[in-house]
Amino acid sequence: MDVSQTGNGAHIGKSVVIKGELSGSEDLYVDGNVDGKIELRNHSLTIGPNGNVKADISAKSVVIQGKLDGSINASERVELRKSALVTGDVTTQRIAIEEGAFLKGKVDVLIEASKAAAPGS
């Protein structure tokens, strides 16, 4: 579930423009413009339908509905909704892509540590 639906976390509205590095220890919803870098480590990032982000992203899970120009490094999962326009490499454990989403880049799906350790899995 993305941040907009839970109502938790920080919210960057569609008229907001940020240039620089964003880091935090709560979930983040971006519906505005961000140019720089986003680091959330153990939290989720959602780029809303009006979001236009030019940044390399590092988070636990990432949901994209808008535009992203930059790489995604998600320790858990990445979800590209049908309106997503992503140009950049994706590294994650799980990826879900809705029909109509656009992705240009390399995708690395990492094997979960628990699966890799389990014999015969």
Binding site: I95, I97, G100, F102, L103, K104, G105, V107, D108, V109
Partner: protein, 230 residues
């Protein structure tokens, strides 16, 4: 004995029942000899670099990465519709800037890919982009790398549906109609791209003349599959 009116009522009831339910999308698939050969390669080697040039498919990404290969996605047909690529040529009519197109797309190091899945891209792409795209693919493919492309035969007709292809663990491909917003149309209006032309065998051979070998597979569904080795 039922009257004629009873029978008529039953007939109309059953007709309306048949049409009232939601349409169940038919799952389409096709056998692909070319994909069969690629699958054997994917199953016998690890860590191959694969470029999928169809519409973004989560299924294909999962399949390739699950086998330990590196997956690159690039929906070149959709990228070619970018209005920013339109320029006025010498005669004043609109044309696509193929130089700018290649500055923004297919930007990879030389000899990078082991497998390129072109699918039906050449048949639906603007003509002026086809040859430059194939030339760029030659550069970014490793010597000995494989390229798979599908070409319609003349029997297919101009309204032939544009499909995206989802790989399976065999030589069967699942097919899904491609639809996206076209330039100059509202975003909500999604259309299927139109077949631009039909290449004959000589055109196809010319297109891939810099490659080492080319193998044709004639399919039943008015398609020719081409497996090319760089």
């Amino acid at each position: 004995m039922a009257s004629i009116s009873d029978n008529l009522m039953r007939f109309f009831k059953s007709s309306s029942n048949q049409t009232a339910g939601p349409a169940i999308p038919q799952k389409l698939s096709r056998r692909s000899s070319g994909m069969g050969e690629i699958s054997r390669l994917l199953n016998s080697q690890e860590g191959l670099c694969i470029l999928d040039m169809g519409s973004t498919s989560a299924n294909n990404i999962r399949y390739f990465t699950g086998k330990g290969h590196k997956n690159y996605s690039e929906d070149l047909l959709r990228s070619s519709l970018d209005p920013g690529l339109r320029i006025q040529d010498g005669s004043g009519s609109l044309a696509i800037d193929s130089k700018k197109f290649l500055e923004e797309n297919l930007v990879y190091p030389n000899a990078h890919f082991d497998v390129v899945l072109c699918w039906n891209l050449p048949d639906y792409m603007e003509e002026s982009l086809v040859k430059p795209t194939i030339d760029r693919l030659w550069s970014v493919m490793k010597p000995g790398g494989f390229l798979l492309a599908f070409f319609h035969t003349r029997d297919a007709g101009p309204d032939s549906t544009c499909y995206r292809y989802h790989v399976t663990d065999s030589d069967m491909l699942d097919m899904q109609e491609v639809k996206f917003a076209m330039p100059g149309r509202p975003g909500s209006e999604r259309q299927s791209p139109r077949l631009q032309r039909v290449f004959n065998n000589r055109h196809i051979e010319n297109l891939f003349r810099d490659f080492v070998s080319i193998k044709f597979f004639l399919a039943r569904d008015s398609m020719r599959e081409v497996l090319v080795v760089r």
